[in-house]
Amino acid sequence: MSSHALATGDLLVILRHAPHGSSWLREGLDAALVAAAFGQSVTLLFQSDGVLALARGQQAGPLGQKSTAPTLDMLAMYDIESLFFVEDALASFGLTQQDLQLPASGIPVTAIPELLAGHKQILTF
């Protein structure tokens, strides 16, 4: 396990869906931004297909859905800087940390309970 201390905070938002295929990611990020705007300390966990949201170079695409990449860029402005992804999930897509749009910390699946326990509230999308 990596040496960094896992985050604690008011709200943990778990994102489990890839961009574009559904609106889960977008609406989950919206919830995170609103919570941050209300002064809560927010942590994001990208899990399973959700890790694809972090991949660099995403655009709206030919189908015309709104891209989530600009929303991810806004996270820092809302002081949401505690970002985690599940290492195995990222590796399962053949991606490495160098492929990510934002600085996020990889955690093993076994560290998820600690992350859950460190937050007062959890919303899953």
Partner: protein, 130 residues
């Protein structure tokens, strides 16, 4: 205990609404209080006032309204998730120049901030999602 529910599944498409309603009646039967049900994502369709399911199926919209009438449970619908899916109350319909409306009291369109507030103000916020 004071509870709130977050419902994110569309009625008749997923089990979320059915399970949430069962959970609601169970907690009320135990003497707990259900402050609010918040509808987000595709859960906003639960507020469709024109829902007309076959008679041999549970009427989910009416079941939510009964929760409000009998227990004072607030029924709040995320306005951003609702508007883009065509779920408009009378005020929003007129603001957007639409004929007719699809949401009416006791459901109320409200901001996502209400969900965040709920999370802080109740003892338990339980999510029902597909």
């Amino acid at each position: 205990m004071r509870y709130a529910l977050l419902v994110q599944g569309a009625p008749y498409s997923s089990q979320a609404s059915h399970s949430a309603l069962r959970f609601a009646s169970a907690l009320l039967a135990r003497g707990h209080r259900l402050e609010c049900v918040f509808f987000y994502h595709e859960g906003v369709y639960n507020a469709a006032r024109l829902a007309a399911p076959p008679q041999d199926e549970p009427h989910l919209h009416d079941a939510w309204c009964a929760l409000n009438a009998e227990h004072g449970t607030q029924l709040q619908v995320c306005i951003a998730a609702a508007l883009r899916r065509g779920m408009l109350d009378e005020r929003e319909a007129s603001r957007h120049g639409k004929h007719g409306h699809s949401v009416e009291p006791p459901f109320e369109l409200t901001g996502l901030g209400q969900l965040i507030d709920l999370g802080q103000s109740v003892d338990r916020l339980v999510t029902f999602a597909p």
